[in-house]
C-alpha cells in the first residue's frame, strides 16, 4: 500500500491541498488536541490509517482504561 504521507490528497470539495492544523479531539469525556492534516478551506480533517491504528488507538486504549 502507498504510504498516506507520500500521497497528494486534496479535499474533494474545495480542491485544496491539505495543510497541518491543530485539531481538537474528544473521547469518553476527555478532550485534547494534536496536529493533523486538514483542508485549509473547509477544515475537513484527514486521518490516515497509520494515525488511526497507531497513536490514536493507543490514546483510545489509555482513555478506556481510565
Amino acid at each position: 500500500m502507498v504510504m498516506a504521507e507520500e500521497k497528494l490528497w486534496k479535499c474533494g470539495k474545495c480542491k485544496e491541498d491539505l495543510v497541518k492544523k491543530r485539531t481538537a479531539f474528544s473521547y469518553l469525556g476527555h478532550t485534547f488536541s494534536t496536529e493533523v492534516m486538514c483542508c485549509p478551506k473547509c477544515g475537513k480533517v484527514f486521518i490516515p490509517k497509520e494515525l488511526a491504528e497507531g497513536k490514536m488507538a493507543a490514546v483510545e486504549q489509555e482513555l478506556e482504561d481510565k
Binding site: 486534496k10 479535499c11 485539531t23 481538537a24 478532550t31 486521518i47 478506556e64 481510565k66
Partner: protein, 748 residues
C-alpha cells in the same frame, strides 16, 4: 453503589488468608512463610519470624504440642503432617546468632506490675519492657519460669529468657509474694499471671476472655491461672501487653481483634496434582541436618487458594486478587474521570462471563457476576466505553427489526412450541435453521420465533435496553399463546431463564434426540464435544448432543475441562483482542480431535482458527462440516434470505427487506483485507454506505495522480474510513478500511 455491594461478591474468597495450620497455631504463626524460608535455607529470617511471633522460640519449639499438625493439609492427601516443631528447632540451631530485639524508643513513665514470672507473665513483661514501659515482675519463687523451672531443659530455657530480657529491661522482684493488690497501688496497670491454682485476688470470676480484663479497671488476668495451656499463655501474654498499652494510652482497654481472620481453617482446597511426599526422617538423634530440614520444609504445599487465578486466562493475565477486584468495582464508580483513574475497566470488559470461576471455586465465588455488575454500574454511571460493544448492539438492533420473524404456524394464531434459533445460528448458516424448523414443523405444533435474546444488551451492561427488549419478547410470546420455546443456543436459553423465568423451554437437541433423529452418517468418525460455557448447567442439552453424535457412530472422547468459553462470551473481542486470541487458541488446542459444537459462535471461533469443527446440526442433517464463516455483511444477508425463504415456503408470505441506495454498489475486497475487516468487525455494508455518501456529496479526499479516494463516515460511536478507487459503474475496489473511536471537536 455501596462498597458492601461489590464486596459481597468475593466475601467468601479465602485467597491470601492464613493457612489452616496457622489458624490452629496459638501464635497464628505464619507457617507457610516460615517453611518457605527454611526450604531456602534462610535461617536468619526464619528465626526472626519465629521469634517475633512466638516470643520464646526455644521454649515453644520444645514444649508446643503442635496443634497445627492436625491441620496440615498434607494429611488431606494421605501424607504425614509436616514436622513443624522439628523445623522450628532447626531454625534455632542453624541461625548463626540468636538475637533479641527491642524498639529504639525513649523510655515511658507508666509503671506496670506483673504478678507471676511464669510463661504468660514473662511474655507480657517482655513485650511491655520492649516498648520501654517501667515493668516490675513479682514472683514468690527464687527465679523466673514458673511451671517450667522443673523441666529437664530448663537450663536452655533460662538462657533464652535471659537473652530476651538482655535488651528489654524489667525489674524482677523474686521471693516477693503479693498477697493483696493494695501492695501494688503505685502501678498504672497490673497483670496477674500466678499460674495454675494461683491467687487471682478474687478477680477470676469477672475475667473477660477476649480482653483479659477484670472488674478492676487496671487489673488484667491471664495464663494458666485461667486454665489455658503454656503455649496459649505465652500468646495471651503478648496479646494482653497490647491491651495494657492501649489502656495506659487511652484509658480504655482495647485490642484490634484479628481473630476473625483465623476462624476459617480453609480446608477446602483439593490440591489437584500435588505429589505425595513422605516425611523426612532425621538421621541423627540431634534432629534434622540443614539439608534434611530444607527438604522437609519444602514438603509444604504452601496452601492458598488461587484456583480461579491460575485457571482463568483473564484472571491470570491481570493477576489481581478477587477481593482487590471487588474493591475496584466499587472505586471505579466513585471517581471523576479527569482526576482519578479507573483501575478495573479492562478487566471488566475482558471477562467472558463464562461462569468457570464460580464452578471451580471451593466457595462458589462468582467473579463473572461481579464483573457483570461492574458493567451495569459503569453503564449507569456513564463510564461505559461504548465503542467496545457498539458493533454487537447494532447487530442486535438489526436482528430484532429487519431480521426478526415471529409467527405461529400458518393459519394458526397460537402454538404449543416455538423455535427460537437465536440470531447467530441462521446468520452463520441458514440451513441450520431451515432444517431444524422443517423437523420441528413435521413433529410438533411449532411456530417460529426469530429474534435476538438480548445478550448483547446484557453484556454491554445496558439494563434499560435489555428491559425494553425483554418486554417485547414477552409480549410476542404471549401473543403466540405462550408456547414452550425450543432453543438451539444455550446463551439464549440462559438469558430467557434469567429474564423470563415464566417461559418453559426445551433444547432443540433433546427434541431431535427423542425422535431418534440422525438422517445420515457423517464423515467424522471420532470427535470431542465442545460444550459451550452457557450450557454449563444444562445436563440434558449436553447429553442430548452426545447421544446424537453417538447415533451418527462418532466415537467421542471427553475434554479434560468442560464448558470453557471459546472466547466469544461477554464480547471481549474488541476490549481485549490479544486475550481473545489467546483464549480461542488454548480452547482450539484443548484436543487434537475435531470438535462437535452446538453454539454458532463456538463454531465461528474455531473455524476462524482452522480447527476442524462441526455443528451438531451438520451431523444430524447431513450438511457439510467445516463450512466457511460468512463475512459480517453476508451474515445479515443470510438472515434476510432465511426469513424470506421461511415466510415464502411455510407461510406463503412475501417479505421485502428494507433497501438502501448504496446496496447497488459492488465492492471488490481482497481476501487479506476481508479477513482483517472480519477481525476488526468492520462490515462491508458500512463501507458501501460511506462510499455512496462520499460519491454523492463529493465530501472526500482524492488523489488525482492515481485516482484514489478516501472518505469517512462518522457514526455516533465509531468513525469509519475507507480508501477506494472506482473500477467500473457502481463498482469500487477497496484498498484499506479502518476506524477510530475518538471524535473531532467541531468548530476548532
Amino acid at each position: 453503589m455501596k462498597i458492601e455491594e461489590a464486596a459481597s461478591y468475593t466475601e467468601k474468597c479465602f485467597h491470601g488468608s492464613p493457612a489452616s495450620c496457622t489458624c490452629a497455631c496459638p501464635f497464628h504463626l505464619d507457617i507457610r512463610s516460615l517453611l518457605e524460608k527454611v526450604s531456602k535455607g534462610k535461617w536468619a529470617s526464619a528465626y526472626k519470624l519465629l521469634r517475633n511471633e512466638t516470643i520464646f522460640p526455644v521454649i515453644v519449639s520444645a514444649l508446643c504440642d503442635q496443634p497445627c499438625s492436625n491441620h496440615c493439609q498434607r494429611t488431606q492427601i494421605g501424607d504425614q503432617a509436616i514436622s513443624i516443631r522439628d523445623l522450628e528447632d532447626a531454625c534455632i540451631r542453624y541461625v548463626k546468632k540468636r538475637k533479641a530485639d527491642a524498639y529504639n524508643i525513649p523510655p515511658k513513665t507508666a509503671k506496670v506490675a506483673v504478678v507471676g514470672a511464669g510463661l504468660a507473665g514473662l511474655s507480657c513483661a517482655l513485650n511491655l519492657a520492649r516498648k520501654k514501659f517501667q515493668v516490675t515482675v513479682f514472683d514468690k519463687e527464687l527465679g523466673w519460669g514458673g511451671s517450667i523451672r522443673v523441666h529437664l531443659r530448663f537450663k536452655e530455657f533460662n538462657e533464652e529468657i535471659s537473652l530476651m530480657f538482655s535488651v528489654a529491661k524489667a525489674d524482677f522482684q523474686f521471693k516477693s509474694e503479693i498477697t493483696s493488690l493494695a501492695q501494688l497501688e503505685e502501678f498504672d496497670a497490673i497483670y496477674i499471671a500466678t499460674g495454675s491454682g494461683g491467687d487471682s485476688f478474687g478477680l477470676l470470676e469477672s475475667w473477660d476472655h477476649e480482653l483479659q480484663t477484670t472488674s478492676e479497671k487496671k487489673v488484667f488476668l491471664g495464663g494458666s491461672l485461667c486454665g489455658v495451656s503454656q503455649m496459649e499463655g505465652i500468646a495471651q501474654g503478648a496479646q494482653v501487653s497490647k491491651v495494657i498499652e492501649a489502656y495506659i494510652q487511652t484509658g480504655k482497654a482495647s485490642y484490634i481483634n484479628k481473630e476473625n481472620n483465623f476462624k476459617e481453617c480453609g480446608r477446602k482446597l483439593d490440591h489437584d496434582g500435588a505429589l505425595s511426599l513422605a516425611r523426612v526422617e532425621a538421621k541423627s538423634t540431634d534432629g534434622y541436618s540443614e539439608a534434611e530440614a530444607r527438604e522437609e520444609a519444602s514438603r509444604c504445599l504452601q496452601c492458598d487458594c488461587d484456583k480461579c487465578l491460575t485457571s482463568c486466562e483473564m484472571l491470570k493475565r491481570f493477576g489481581k486478587a478477587p477481593q482487590k477486584m471487588a474493591i475496584e468495582v466499587y472505586t471505579d464508580t466513585h471517581v471523576n474521570p479527569p482526576l482519578s483513574t479507573h483501575t478495573l475497566a479492562r478487566e471488566t470488559y475482558s471477562c467472558n462471563l463464562c461462569g468457570h470461576c464460580k464452578s471451580i471455586c471451593p466457595e462458589a465465588v462468582d467473579i463473572g457476576a461481579m464483573l457483570q455488575f461492574s458493567r451495569t454500574a459503569r453503564f449507569k454511571d456513564n463510564s461505559y466505553p461504548a465503542a467496545l460493544h457498539d458493533f454487537w448492539l447494532r447487530e442486535m438492533d438489526y436482528a430484532v427489526s429487519q431480521g426478526a420473524f415471529v409467527s405461529a404456524p400458518k393459519g394458526k394464531k397460537t402454538c404449543q412450541y416455538a423455535f427460537f434459533p437465536g440470531c447467530q445460528l441462521g446468520a452463520s448458516n441458514p440451513e441450520h435453521v431451515l432444517e431444524s424448523y422443517d423437523f420441528l414443523n413435521e413433529h410438533y405444533d411449532a411456530g417460529i420465533f426469530i429474534s435476538c435474546c438480548g445478550a448483547p444488551a446484557f453484556w454491554a451492561g445496558d439494563e434499560e435496553r435489555l428491559g425494553v427488549h425483554i418486554e417485547k419478547l414477552r409480549q410476542e410470546w404471549f401473543e403466540m399463546g405462550r408456547p414452550k420455546l425450543v432453543f438451539a443456543c444455550a446463551t439464549c436459553e440462559n438469558i430467557f431463564s434469567m429474564m423470563l423465568p415464566e417461559i418453559k423451554s426445551i433444547s432443540l437437541y433433546e427434541l431431535l434426540d427423542r425422535q431418534s433423529h440422525v438422517l445420515s452418517k457423517c464423515d467424522l468418525t471420532e470427535a470431542v464435544v465442545f460444550d459451550p460455557c452457557a450450557a454449563r448447567d444444562d445436563d440434558e442439552m449436553q447429553s442430548s448432543v452426545r447421544r446424537l453424535a453417538d447415533k451418527a457412530d462418532i466415537s467421542l472422547e471427553e475434554l479434560q475441562e468442560k464448558n470453557r468459553c471459546c472466547g466469544y462470551g461477554g464480547l471481549i473481542r474488541l476490549a481485549n483482542p490479544s486475550l481473545y486470541d489467546e483464549i480461542s487458541q488454548v480452547r482450539a488446542e484443548a484436543s487434537e480431535k475435531p470438535y462437535i459444537v452446538y453454539c454458532a459462535n463456538c463454531r465461528e471461533v474455531f473455524a476462524a482458527r482452522d480447527k476442524e469443527c462441526a455443528h451438531v446440526l451438520d451431523i444430524v442433517f447431513g450438511l457439510s462440516i467445516n463450512a466457511s464463516i460468512p463475512s459480517l455483511a453476508k451474515k445479515r444477508e443470510n438472515s434476510l434470505e432465511l426469513k424470506k425463504k421461511l415466510m415464502r415456503e411455510k407461510w406463503e408470505m412475501d417479505f421485502e427487506a428494507e433497501t438502501h441506495e448504496w446496496d447497488k454498489l459492488s465492492l471488490i475486497i481482497g481476501d487479506e483485507l476481508q479477513k482483517m475487516m472480519d477481525q476488526k468487525l468492520i462490515s462491508s455494508a458500512d463501507l458501501q454506505e460511506a462510499i455512496w455518501l462520499a460519491e454523492e456529496s463529493g465530501d472526500k479526499f482524492y488523489d488525482e495522480s492515481d485516482g484514489m479516494s478516501l472518505c469517512s463516515m462518522i457514526k455516533p460511536v465509531i468513525t469509519y474510513w475507507v480508501e477506494y478507487r472506482k473500477t467500473g459503474p457502481d463498482t469500487y475496489e477497496v484498498y484499506s478500511a479502518y476506524y477510530h473511536r475518538m471524535h473531532f471537536v467541531k468548530g476548532e
